[in-house]
């Protein structure tokens, strides 16, 4: 990517589900290595935005450029550079954690050594041979983090990434999906204060429309209160 180009740029993005507008007139520019926190109430359009950026949903209007490639037209070119950690872990319940990660590693052409490295990183090697359906929600989330970062993505799309994790597990995943990962990040969180603390830019959505786009230092308590009212 050329120096100075934003890693992600949205211009007038819109998406509908039938009659319902999920996103409308969303525009934002995010530099490489920066973190965008997307805030808003349940149903504000946060997950829809992440699924569009992950190339899983098509926008109905507007333009997206990611890592210099226009989406969804050049989705194939950026898929290997995107890691999505969504509400669903995207793991097969009847396969073991190791089998699931090796399956995704094979799809991404990543050597299996990387799987073992990540299992160690999230301290799941002991339970790696257990079927996913037998694991706790927190353990599944740790495996989901491994799946999302298997291929060392340049862009991380994180939808409530710390959901179901205890403080110890949060520490374990921090080097993988936190600032130390040095990826461009778009994240949503049920905890706006925590999201602001790790953001470089904030996009607040209300009813699918941007309420404000600003730096975290400029976000006031009154704005947050109104956003979640």
């Amino acid at each position: 990517m050329e120096q100075g180009l934003p890693a992600i740029e949205l211009r007038g993005l819109a998406r509908h589900f039938g009659e319902r507008t999920a996103l409308q007139q969303v525009s934002v520019r995010l530099g490489a290595g920066a973190t965008l926190a997307v805030l808003g109430r349940n149903g504000a359009g946060k997950s829809t935005l992440l699924r569009i950026l992950a190339t899983l949903l098509r926008p109905h209007a507007g333009e997206i450029t990611m890592l210099g490639e226009p989406l969804p037209r050049r989705a194939f070119a950026v898929r290997s550079k995107i890691g999505l950690l969504g509400h669903e872990p995207l793991l097969y319940r009847d396969l073991t954690g190791r089998e699931n990660l090796r399956y995704h590693a094979d799809l991404h052409r990543v050597p299996h050594e990387r799987v073992e490295e990540l299992l160690d990183a999230v301290q799941m090697r002991d339970r790696a041979e257990d079927p996913v359906r037998t694991l706790s929600r927190g353990m599944v989330q740790r495996l989901a983090v491994c799946r999302a970062v298997l291929h060392r993505p340049e862009v991380l799309l994180l939808d409530e990434p710390r959901a179901s994790l205890d403080p110890g597990a949060e520490e374990l995943i921090e080097p993988l999906i936190g600032r130390p990962a040095q990826a461009t990040r778009v994240l949503t969180s049920h905890d706006p204060k925590a999201a602001l603390a790790e953001a470089d830019l904030v996009l607040a959505l209300k009813g699918g429309r941007p309420a404000f786009v600003t730096e975290p230092a400029h976000v006031t308590d009154a704005q947050l209160k109104e956003l979640y009212a």
């Binding site: 999505l84 991404h108 079927p131």
Partner: protein
């Protein structure tokens, strides 16, 4: 094709672990043969009647697999996991069709001898080679059309109804060719190999639907 083999390996592992599809197909087929055995009140059948019952039963049994083909992808996020990977989407079509083909072959390895034991008058031995060729061509049609139909049905709420409603009419030409080809094979003193025209019709049908599936499958995965 590396991605297709990865997905196929995963599907076969899942089936070996859960035993959700093949045992159900086998039980359905054997139960149907038993029902026909008593309902027809005949010790043995042969010729076109035997071919019709065998092929019809296998066709209906295959719908059980078609209905389950994409369930794990839909319910456990397999679609999203696959779509996020930088691989050709046709890999999913190829892998699912091959998985269905393997399930059908395993079904037939058990169901055809069971049919011979419970219903068939003439010996299955002499026409076995011809029957295998015929069933293999029919299986390819079932696998390709079944995968296509399953990919359509999985996005609907009534997927268990949609798959047979769309799939069975599309499979009628293949059913006719297979049953008509198998009729003389299963007759008393029947021929050892099916007529070339039925094999040709099946092969052409396989080819047309393989190309059609290849052309449209990408669009079926779109949101």
């Amino acid at each position: 094709m590396r991605a297709a083999s990865t997905i196929l390996r995963k599907d076969l592992t899942l089936e070996l672990r859960t035993l959700e599809v093949v045992p159900a197909m086998v039980l359905f087929s054997v139960a149907t043969f038993v029902i026909f055995h008593f309902a027809l009140n005949r010790a043995a059948i042969a010729g076109q009647l035997a071919a019709g019952i065998l092929i019809g039963t296998l066709l209906f049994a295959s719908m059980l697999a078609v209905n389950r083909l994409f369930v794990a992808e839909r319910e456990q996020g397999g679609f999203d996991g696959f779509l996020l990977a930088p691989v050709d989407r046709t890999a999913l079509l190829v892998a699912k069709a091959l998985a269905l083909l393997i399930f059908l072959v395993v079904l037939e390895v058990i169901a055809v001898p069971a049919f011979a034991l419970l219903l068939l008058g003439p010996s299955i031995g002499p026409p076995l080679g011809g029957l295998v060729v015929l069933l293999l061509l029919a299986d390819i049609a079932l696998a390709v059309i079944g995968t296509l139909v399953s990919a359509i049905a999985i996005h609907t709420r009534a997927r268990d109804l949609i798959a047979p409603i769309i799939g069975l009419p599309l499979l009628i030409p293949a059913l006719i060719a297979t049953a008509r080809g198998a009729g003389p094979l299963l007759a008393t003193h029947g021929s050892g190999f099916p007529q070339g025209k039925w094999l040709a019709i099946l092969a052409l049908y396989d080819l047309v639907f393989a190309l059609l599936s290849y052309a449209v499958f990408d669009y079926l995965l779109e949101d």
